[in-house]
Amino acid sequence: MEEQRIGVYVCQCGTNIAKVVNCEEVVRALSEQPGVVVAKTYKYMCSNPGQEMIIADIQEHGLDRIVVAACSPRMHEPTFRKAIQTAGLNPYFVEMANIREQCSWVHDDPQVATDKARALTFGALHRVAKHEPLERMSVEMCPDVLVIGGGVCGMTAALELADGGNHVYLVEREGTLGGNVARVDLTAPYLDSARDLITALVTRVEEHKRIDVLVHSQVSSLEGFVGNFTATVETIWGDGASVSQFRVGNVVVATGYKEFDASRVVHYGYGKLPNVITSFEFEKMLRAGRIQTKEGKIPQYVAIIHCVGSRSKEFHTYCSRVCCMTALKYAHEVKSAIPNCYVSDVYIDMHAFGKGHEDFYKRGSEAKTLFLMYAKNDHPVIRKAGPGDDCEMLIEVNEKLSGEQIEIPADLVILMVGMEAREDSDAVARLVNISRDKDGWFIESHPKLDPVATTTDGIYIAGVCAAPKDIPDTVAQARAAAGRILAKTIRGSIEIDAVFAEIDEDKCSGCRVCNALCPYSAITYDASKKKSTVISAVCKACGACVAACPSGAIKARHFTDSQIFAQIEGVLT
């Protein structure tokens, strides 16, 4: 075999790696290995100068394989593949050793971390020596898009895509478009009408010639891969149902959220005390233009309780982000409708982080609302008032700032219910093959650098289904997802990873064990030749067939037995 010329690049990631791992020592150990022509360390290997250094070395020293010991390959493998391709190498001739996430960020003993970094880099060195050049496949990119969810998010994404020239199928489970925002009166902090906002969107969506709206509908299956999905949608019409099928290249998941069930917080008496209502029930009153108790009386005391289901160790630990400003909006709306009403606002912390929010809070606090702070997990308790009291209920609050136990009167209590993942989020995640976090929200490709893409190519997430957010952030994500898709579909084709399984016909015994194992039915059997074959475009490279083949006839490209064996030898050196 011709001798290989390998370059090894150990990234310091600023101080992220270098503060624990002795990068020079790793370089020294690697430079003594057979085949290593160049070994270097640098501040930021992913930066332009870092990449240019690798490119220049490839050209100057005739390197044919590259090892980059840096962050997770999930982060920068595409970066370095592109860089070495620029230098004329096959993009698969690079292997990364993950010495940041798997080493410097999780270990603190410098010697131990350096030893481990060296072992991981040895693993990458041994593996890259076995890499084979692979050609990526170019496949057609269908410009049509499936948008799941017809709320503000889904409608915004659909309009952006349709305005860009793509055909959109907008699928909504309910009978009307609008989602949760359609249940809201005014929006905070600028007090714009949610109804106006929804009406404008719905009108444009319904009139758009490139948007097909399917209400009362659900996506029942999604097959295929980026650029070439087939979606099956079931629509309920009165007592009948119909099934439609269409080809799409990309999917936007905009399934939103459901409100927290307030009856789960027993000390608030929701469902038992008739005048304890949720924020959405209060919105309904506002939309009807009349704030009143169940008995039809105008309330003299209104209390608003924040973080119902949110920021609690019992229910959801996260903040639902929109409730604080909505609560201030309620204080404002109650005061405008009933000027002599006493409004108390019972909160944990006032989260006023967005544009215009702090000013809105300032105005709210000047409007004679009584603000009472309670400690996390030390919830107020609501009970029915006695016959001698001039109010319906009494709320006991351990007021955090004064340290006193305070009792406040209330005729109407509004519970600011948080957002939670829909109960079908699990089914949706499986449908489109994406993951959920511990709270049930969909997981993005990267929380900071790639917030609307997912780990499945062609599937985008936007809006609250990825985590609680307000309308402006939702709109921004919807447009971001649409923008990503427009940028990808404009070229008409897409390069897909060259990683898939292939069967060596000479070794295949025709036993067909692999045929049934493939979850994508990507393996066909030629009865005349008595051989199985992998349809490469359909294969998703899991490798189940490779491990199962009794003849060792199937090769997982880029994850071959010999590559993995070499890596095992390397990490145990």
Binding site: N98, A113, S435, A541, C542, A547, I564, L572
Partner: protein, 144 residues
């Protein structure tokens, strides 16, 4: 110096490797004995990978995949789950304590859990002591 076991971890790309990355980004520290090898799916893990790792000097092998029902390839982890008891049986036949090999489910959001699994695994293998394979190999070499 006290005995420090070497552990090879085979992690699926979609759940467990991402979970290990999350342990990193969340700075959840864990025992440094593990050397992680990425595969696309736990179903790709050929029993020979495990045997190879043990032969090359690993004292333990950790296999991690997505939780049942959560596999990126819908059912790959079930395939691993079915291979696992056979693998354990084979190890016993070879005179290797089956506890040296372990299968765990770690999702992309379970960085903390990944760290706990690694710590627990490391402790157990430490208690088992060095793998008997190395001794056998050394004897073989000596007899030749």
């Amino acid at each position: 110096m006290s005995y420090e076991p070497k552990i090879v971890g085979f992690l699926c790309n979609w759940c467990s490797y991402t979970g290990a990355d999350l342990a990193g980004t969340s700075r959840v520290h864990y025992a440094p004995n593990i050397r992680i090898i990425r595969v696309m799916c736990s179903a790709r893990i050929d029993p020979t990978f495990v045997l190879k790792a043990l032969r090359e000097g690993a004292d333990g092998v950790l296999i991690c995949g997505c939780h049942p029902g959560d596999c990126h390839y819908s059912e790959g982890n079930y395939k691993m789950m079915r291979r696992y008891p056979l693998l354990k049986k084979m190890l016993t036949d070879f005179g290797i304590e089956p506890a040296r090999v372990r299968l765990e489910w770690v999702s992309a959001s379970e960085g903390q859990r990944f760290a706990e699994v690694v710590n627990d695994m490391t402790q157990r293998v430490r208690e088992l002591g060095p793998s008997p394979i190395q001794q056998t190999l050394a004897q073989d070499m000596a007899e030749r």
